[in-house]
């Protein structure tokens, strides 16, 4: 028996019956998702007051299973959009939940995350974007960076400094920013691997109505850590083709494909930044490098690490399902391992390719994939928290080693920071 008192069997029956009555692939995507939300199946793990049914993770999984069997399309909940909805759900006012959650589920609104700044990368709480209240409106000035999908986002979750005299973690506030306004300029940011997956966002007197401050003035850091915890749990994970395996006919699928094409575009090189361990053995066999004893040693090391990481994260996943607390450290260990594995994979790909690694593009090894690996792997140990930050977290939170001296106490305006 579960909270809402339904067994998986009962759920399956109910969902199946509802889909039989309502699901059709000839509807428009928005139309269908509105039916979905009204039916209460868009986010069954959400509370009943807000489009959900208060289901447990397991119950929700049962629902998803039936949707997949039927090939029925679910709610739009991928990428930053999902971080926004979970944060609003956790910290938002009743009014904010009513206004923002539904269009996220239906896919009418896309969102982006506006946390990092040129001056504060590892040190997120050092944000120095200014938020000042002028007759009932928050006026925002500053620059954000690493903003995935910002160029086509309708709204952004934004961290800014509303008080410069408080200590750095206490002077922050968290806003829901309408991106469609003159004060917001979005510029694409090109990476060393040639992709433009991110943006810079410039705020010049951008406005946020008082009611779109979330979590209360000065509570920005608490709200931000909520968002980050979802991100660490992989909620922000890049979108997958979920729901449209195989060739399916119907308007709703066409529109979903289009939606996903936009949503997945920034992430096309992410598998490469992880080193593509899957390509190592095939490449080693086809090139004959698998006969090279020095390369064999490195491949064996790589297989060992990646097997260990896969097993360890599976067991963490299991523990999490069983409801453990130590999610963040486990995440940090896994993230650190991912860096080591990606670098080793890149090293092995280099040994295998030899002089061919001087080339790139369609004519080069694996149609350019190998070259893309070699110049994308440096991102894995930086994005989403550098290796150094992960090691700090592991040593302090898991091993309980003492913190060093902090140089960022006292009023924020007195703390040494980058001059931009």
């Amino acid at each position: 028996m579960t909270r809402s008192g339904l067994t998986d069997e009962e759920i399956r029956n109910e969902v199946t019956q509802w889909l039989d009555e309502n699901w059709s692939s000839d509807r428009s995507l928005i139309e269908w998702r509105n039916i979905l939300v009204d039916g209460g199946w868009a986010a069954p793990h959400w509370p009943e007051e807000y489009f959900g049914r208060g289901f447990t993770t397991d119950q929700a999984a049962a629902v998803t299973a039936v949707f997949n069997e039927k090939g029925a399309v679910g709610a739009a909940q991928v990428g930053p959009r999902r971080l926004a909805s979970e944060t609003i759900l956790a910290c938002g006012s009743d009014d904010q939940k009513r206004r923002y959650l539904r269009p996220i589920l239906t896919g009418e609104h896309t969102w982006c995350q506006l946390f990092s700044e040129p001056g504060s990368g590892s040190d997120l709480a050092g944000a120095s974007t200014r938020a000042e209240l002028h007759h009932g409106k928050w006026i925002l000035n500053g620059q954000k960076v690493w903003n995935t999908s910002a160029h086509h986002a309708d709204f952004g979750i934004l961290l800014a400094r509303s008080d410069w005299d408080l200590p750095k973690h206490q002077g922050l506030s968290y806003f829901l920013l309408n991106m469609r306004q003159p004060g917001v300029e979005v510029r694409p940011l090109k990476q060393m691997n040639g992709h433009q997956s991110f943006n810079e966002v410039f705020l010049a007197n951008a406005e946020v109505p008082a009611e779109d401050l979330i979590g209360g003035e000065g509570n920005g850091w608490a709200v931000a850590t909520t968002t980050l915890s979802f991100e660490r749990r992989g909620f922000g994970r890049r979108p997958t083709g979920g729901g449209i395996q195989g060739p399916k006919k119907g308007r709703v699928y066409e529109e979903l494909k289009a939606e996903l094409a936009i949503a997945t575009e920034p992430y096309t090189w992410y598998p490469q930044r992880e080193g593509r361990v899957d390509l190592v053995l095939p490449r080693a066999r086809e090139t004959g490098a698998i006969k090279d004893p020095a390369i064999r040693q490195e491949i064996a090391r790589l297989i060992g690490m990646s097997t260990g990481a896969a097993l360890a994260s599976a067991s963490v996943e299991a523990k999490r399902m069983a409801g453990t607390t130590e999610i963040i450290p486990a995440g940090s260990i896994g993230k650190l391992a991912a860096s080591v594995i990606a670098r080793q994979a890149s090293h092995v790909h280099t040994m295998i390719a030899g002089a061919d690694a001087m080339l790139s593009g369609a004519e080069s090894a694996e149609q350019g994939t190998i070259a893309e690996i070699l110049i994308s792997v440096p991102a894995i140990s930086i994005a989403g928290g550098t290796d150094e930050i992960q090691r700090n977290i592991i040593s302090e939170r898991v091993l309980g080693m003492p913190k060093g001296h902090r140089s960022d106490r006292g009023p924020f305006r007195d703390i040494k920071r980058n001059v931009s």
Binding site: I290, R296, I299, A300, R391, M401
Partner: protein, 365 residues
């Protein structure tokens, strides 16, 4: 295939850990490593009797508890943690696994119960501890079961009653049981790098042996895999102890007006160690499950041995380095684990040999 430890297995680990905590403090380890015999018979009897450690992996039909490598691994891991000095690895693990994999039914019934109960101390005489394919190379068995040859390194032979010998026969390899006191058997204790594991040279000069089974290449590799997995568990147990004790030390040791554990260089080194250990531990536990279930990666044992060896050595080096001069003294305990780490690294194949062995399998997949 099992993915996590069951409640029973977790409970069993606690029982073993408590028994070893009580019976194998570092003071005891230091006394035993300084002694000729190298272990305490009373303690060993107790561990075999009360906790049944001698036959944990031996079927009940042969006087054991009938568990598998997972449970054997739990015992080895806890022993590695406390550096328990005793005939566990020689008798139940090495000799026991050899008999389980290669002996005839009759011989299992005859020999395993004594090993399980601890009343018999056996050991496995292998004339090559680097490469299974070389085993028996220099030990010849005559058709009448007379054994002649030298094994340069044999664990705990100095206290063994029964020698289980792998020898070359006319048409392959055979497994032989030899009475330690039989004519033609000479056993010389050797000076060792790791004083917590006693080693001897065993010389057989047409010593009478009873053939207890055939040893096919496949059986030999299975025995080798199982021994490596047990050893790998011992190693991650030791690595775990080193990481814990080293981290604790850095929390209390003060230099430059602060605990040295607050220096980022030390924090990051410990964080890297933990990560490495997590990966190795996952692979080692997985390897035991693979062998028990006869599923999974056929190279899991070599992968586990290689990773556990490097993790243990890295933890041992850090254990001494982070303690500074104190860590290099005899008085400090760290070197006891360092020496066990070093000798385990090369025992049953160095990491690079296991990576090569692993790739031979991978290549064939």
């Amino acid at each position: 295939m099992q993915a996590e430890f069951s409640k029973e297995q977790q409970l069993f680990r606690q029982v073993v850990a408590r028994a070893l905590k009580d019976n194998s403090p570092s003071s005891a380890v230091r006394d035993l490593m300084a002694s000729d015999r190298g272990y305490d018979p009373a303690v060993w009897q107790q561990l075999c009797g009360e906790v049944g450690l001698g036959g944990i992996h031996i079927p009940e039909a042969y006087g054991g508890t009938g568990f598998g490598l997972i449970e054997l691994g739990i015992v080895a891991e806890e022993m590695g943690r406390t550096l328990y000095c005793g005939p566990f690895f020689a008798s139940p693990v090495m000799a026991g696994l050899a008999l389980l994999n290669a002996a005839t039914e009759v011989q299992k019934e005859a020999l395993l119960p004594g090993i399980a109960s601890g009343s018999t101390l056996a050991t496995l005489v292998l004339d090559d501890l680097n490469d299974p394919d070389q085993a028996g190379r220099s030990t010849q068995a005559s058709d009448h079961g007379r054994l002649t040859g030298t094994a340069g390194i044999v664990v705990d032979a100095h206290v063994a009653d029964l020698l289980i010998v792998v020898a070359k026969t006319r048409d392959g390899r055979g497994l032989y049981a030899v009475d330690r006191h039989a004519p033609g058997v000479s056993i010389d204790s050797l000076e060792v790098l790791d004083p917590t594991r006693k080693l001897s040279r065993v010389i057989l000069d047409s010593a009478p042996g009873e053939k207890v089974g055939e040893v096919s290449d496949e059986a030999l590799h299975r025995i080798w895999d199982q021994m490596c997995v047990a050893l790998a568990h011992e190693m991650i147990g030791g690595a775990q102890h080193l990481l814990e004790s080293t981290v604790e030390y850095t929390k209390v040791r003060v230099q430059f007006g602060r605990p040295i554990g607050s220096f980022q260089a030390l924090k990051h080194r410990c964080a890297d160690l933990l990560m490495e250990l997590e990966l190795a531990r996952a692979v080692v536990h997985h390897a035991a499950r693979c062998l028990d279930a006869d599923e999974g990666e056929p190279y899991a044992a070599s992968m586990a041995k290689a990773m556990a060896s490097e993790t243990y050595m890295n933890a041992a080096k850090a254990g001494i380095q982070l303690r500074g001069g104190i860590g290099f003294t005899w008085e400090d305990d760290t070197h006891l684990w360092f020496k066990r780490a070093k000798s385990s690294e090369v025992f049953l194949g160095t990491p690079h040999l296991h990576r090569e062995r692993m790739m031979t399998v991978v290549e064939g997949l």
